[in-house]
Symmetry: D2
Subunit: 366 residues, 4 copies
């Protein structure tokens, strides 16, 4: 990787508060609105013919998700809030030094947001940074508006990138800290979780062909809220929106569910990870062969979850070319004919009970 | 099936109150005790070198599960409680008329239970009926003893039998009522749920090679209790005891989890089905191709759940021979190369999204 | 009480399945509809200018609650479903023998219900019995219609009557069984819970000036559903509808909440009592001085809960006169200057910590 | 207040990460251990004859609570973690400039903690600051150790002080930010909540005679965990440890419960407040007469909750003298003969329904 290394800028990074919103291009705005508003219960702050601005129930800024009508389903921006207006100058300097394309708009890129900077970052992702934003009513106490699956916060992004250590180093330069990762004994890193706010992550880097958006995640308060979403999807005969879960993550210890929206964009519903805000917060490293790392109950990851993801756009709105991962893939080393996943570290390859073999030994079956 | 029909006895059936306990042979009593007591938190009413008598937290009769040391892991008896001592005479007459082997013991077959009748029923299952039983403390209010995954009631049995309609007709003669079933347009019945107490079932008949025990089910109060059991299994690095779920059933509308005990006996944890006690309670019939019938969220059933089950014993303690199912199997018609499962009745075979194809099209993959 | 005893009829009682619906007169139909439909989420089966017919989400009969516009807020009928049409003949004979006014209508007393018998029972309550009823969609699987506080079943009635043992004896003649009661060492009975269906009760008799309706109770699946109702009432600035709770009952072991509707009718929301269907189900008797009997956490009962209740109507729609209780009242013996409630049986009167004295020693403040 | 104002030091405040532990003197160490360990399930990191060091299940530092045997039940230190070792120099400079007694110990004041500074702050509270601390196993994934009422984090302190605006100004100088407060139209502030970590508070200032400890709060993940603690206390016949709740706070929107330990120290169990980490997080100000401010459901606050609190110690271990509040008390203006609490802002004093009058109009009973 040395030849490939992203240099650490001399310019100090901006002080990022948290992931704030995702700007998402959808091909059928009405279908997407139905999914995010009528099914998931996100709140419409504003909408017009071209876009719907949505927020979660405990949010006080204008939006956490923009659905924008467009020709190609893709992520247009991963937006972070910075601590003060002047941090945007640092954003500009930081990314200019990295040789990235940088665009600043005093009036913002999306409704409700003021002075903002968008960049195509060294990994190829469209990142946005802003401080100025319109305040709206925090609906935390408006239980008359809450649904059984109430989404209360934007929790994190998850990005697919070919070279995880390279991405992590750049993100650490940007001021992020790793909380957990997945590695193997040979030193390959398969994924890493990084935070600004004191949860497990504001974003994660998942090893794969990238740059692509793996998912955006919203938080609920309790586990039954996530179950209620599944139950409602069943009632609506949309259970095929459920890609994976619900389950308990090993990484993050959160309870989770993965859905696919009408364009195939992946949305996670997430609850109950842990405090990571201490400066010496212990990093948790998981063995890629530990089958409880991604699902604490050992339920297998569906292959599409590893392989499918959404394109991301450059600052002109064109899809970024995707670079293939060259390291081994997590899917290949864990499931399928040559993969191996254990429940207990001392297990050998034949330790899987019959009811798990069909799931973990895809190549062997039938 | 006519040639095969079990005749309706002239003798009236006994008045059965509910499924009461399972007498289960295990090959490693210590390992089974660890699973049922230390992991699942069932309460020991009594134990000795050869058996452990367990009850759920809201039970007031001596036991809901007997773990009995033996050479072959099998179900020794499915025991039902009748409404009065004299119902046992009806049991004897009913089964004698059917030509079944009938054995009555005034002192009972298991500790804590008095006058009892055991039969090998026309389907080959060892059924027990009793009224007299030792009362023990109902621990409902003993929250100091409850665990996060507290099991509060025995809910039901589930039996594997080759010919479901034949079994149903006999069970109706015995006084049971069907609440739900799974059929196809050709008239094949794949499974049926039947009750005495006003829940969805005291037992179900699952089509397959039988007689075998498919599972025994215990109830919790809330869904998080079931999740807590999964989380604990993960912590104990026993997540491979989880065979299927957790999920929401279509049939019964209950939230569920299937575990496999150290002998491979299947245990369901179950909560929140519905009242069925009205005499005209509507029967719910599910289409076998509806992929929400067994999991309301459309998550696929793992093949082992269809194919594996426990032997049952005759009254001498020998395993019953297993008769093969001749009707089509639910697994064959729903998953695999020739199967078909839809999310919406109008879906055609290609409607499955990519993330479901690997799960439902086992034969197509790789 | 001997002079007062209600004789046991020679006629056998009808076979009652369960409490089925309450016919309730309200003075402002729109206000009541707002409370039961918009706040509590009961489902409208039918409505017209004079009445709204409501059901819970798992019900398949036409209604569990009728809101009927009228001049005096009162209970017009406590309706029970019997097991078969011919049971109504037994109802007629049973109550005629008791000298009660009996009225039978082949077309029913409320929309959706067929052949029915209404009586003014020996305690002065308007009781209805019916079998024929219109079936409607059971919305158990319609999670798209469920709210955070989803009410899934009618659970029970609760009636106020001056002489509890007299009432219990009559109800036992009618085929009910006592599951729990509250007594004192002197032999006074303060309340009793009685069931047909195998839960703790279909109705309870609460000692006080009567006949009056104490409350009607609907069940939710989980405790958070009840909390959600409180949260919503807060959001609507209707928190003053909350009279008592939420809390955990000692009696029944259920989690509960008491609300007051726009006319002051009391509604309980209730979840998770226990199976009582065995013929020898142990009766639980609570000491009236045990301050965990009505709230397992020792939170005091608000005085209005003891003293306020709704009138009941005779078969002509006139309010029944109320007879005063002559036995000591539960409120008087437990709170106030001369009352005594203990947390532990061995406690003396001074054992209450400072934070409980203001609650339990109302008399000391007076 | 001008004569009384605490000056803003020229020295910059330390960078405080979060409230970290409470050092608590108890008079019966065994009784306190039983309460915090056997009842509440806190985990013992270390114990000896004089002290027990406890942590919550997701904690990785040595302890969140020290129970220390002593002659007078009191709070010995409110300890905060700072972001780096060198912040302690700032602590020393900051408090020296304020003229406070400052004591620094390189070996720490409690086992498991290194270099620390303790001060008697301008409000009379014993505050501790530290960075160095022994790491221990974070038990987040150890579900085999979790109880139904699992406490997962230390959430906050709450302090009683006579002059809330004076206290707030000092705390803001120390780097805290106000998230919510309770005021009246006359400009009196009754309480204020302040945070370092991005939750509603690390500590709150409650108006009253002080300095005293109002309570220490631990977080659970879900609401049922809090209910489980109440249920267990009932089962142990210790329900009189429950002082107030469970309920939903207006302020903070959290679900809560207040307990009293064997010495009368108050412990809150708390879950699900909201993100406050944005620099422009909107401050929520509640009207003191709004009866949903402290309980969103309008359930009244028990008087002891307003009046009782624990002494705090000076750095020699002697109880601090208590200064009386001179502003009006929240209890006086809301409950009792001259108080007023409304459910809706437009309500007049007679708007309380009968079932609330006994609770809110204590003065009418007196």
């Amino acid at each position: 990787m040395p030849e490939n290394l992203i240099p650490t800028p001399a310019a100090p990074p901006p002080d990022i508060v948290r992931c704030a919103y995702l700007d998402l291009v959808v091909t059928d705005l009405a279908a997407s609105r139905d999914f995010y508003v009528d099914v998931l219960g996100l709140v419409v702050t504003h909408e017009d013919d071209d876009a719907v601005y949505l927020r979660s129930l405990e949010e006080f800024i204008h939006h956490n998700l923009v659905l924008r009508r467009g020709p190609v389903a893709a992520a247009a921006a991963f937006a972070y809030r910075v601590r003060a207006p002047e941090e945007l100058d640092r954003v500009v300097a930081f990314y200019r030094e990295l040789g990235c394309r940088v665009e600043r708009r005093a009036e913002g890129f999306t409704r409700g947001v003021g002075d903002s900077v968008r960049v195509t970052d060294p990994l190829g992702f469209p990142y946005e940074f802003f401080y100025e934003v319109e305040h709206v009513e925090r609906l935390a106490w408006r239980y008359d508006l809450h649904t059984p699956g109430a989404l209360v916060r934007l929790d994190h992004f998850n990005q697919v990138t070919p070279d995880v250590p390279r991405a992590v180093r750049y993100m650490e330069d940007l001021g992020f800290r790793v909380t957990e990762d997945i590695q193997d004994a040979e030193g390959t890193t398969y994924a890493a979780w990084m935070r600004r706010k004191p949860t497990v992550h504001d974003t994660a880097m998942t090893g794969g062909d990238g740059p692509r958006l793996h998912h955006v995640a919203f938080a609920t308060h309790e586990k039954h809220n996530i179950i209620a979403i599944c139950d409602k999807l069943g009632a609506l005969r949309q259970s095929d929106r459920i890609e994976r879960g619900p389950g308990r993550h090993g990484v993050s210890n959160a309870f989770y569910l993965y859905l696919r929206d009408p364009d195939g964009h992946r949305v996670e519903i997430y609850t109950q990870d842990y405090w990571t805000g201490d400066p010496d917060n212990p990093v948790v490293t998981w063995d890629v062969h530990d089958n409880q790392r991604r699902d604490w109950w050992g339920n297998p990851v569906v292959p599409s979850w590893y392989t499918e993801a959404s394109p991301v756009l450059d600052l002109d709105g064109n899809p970024q070319p995707v670079v293939a991962r060259t390291d081994t893939s997590e899917m290949a080393v864990t499931i399928g004919a040559d993969g191996f996943s254990y429940t207990r570290p001392e297990d050998d390859e034949d330790a899987l009970p019959s009811w798990k073999q069909g799931e973990y030994k895809l190549g062997h079956q039938l």
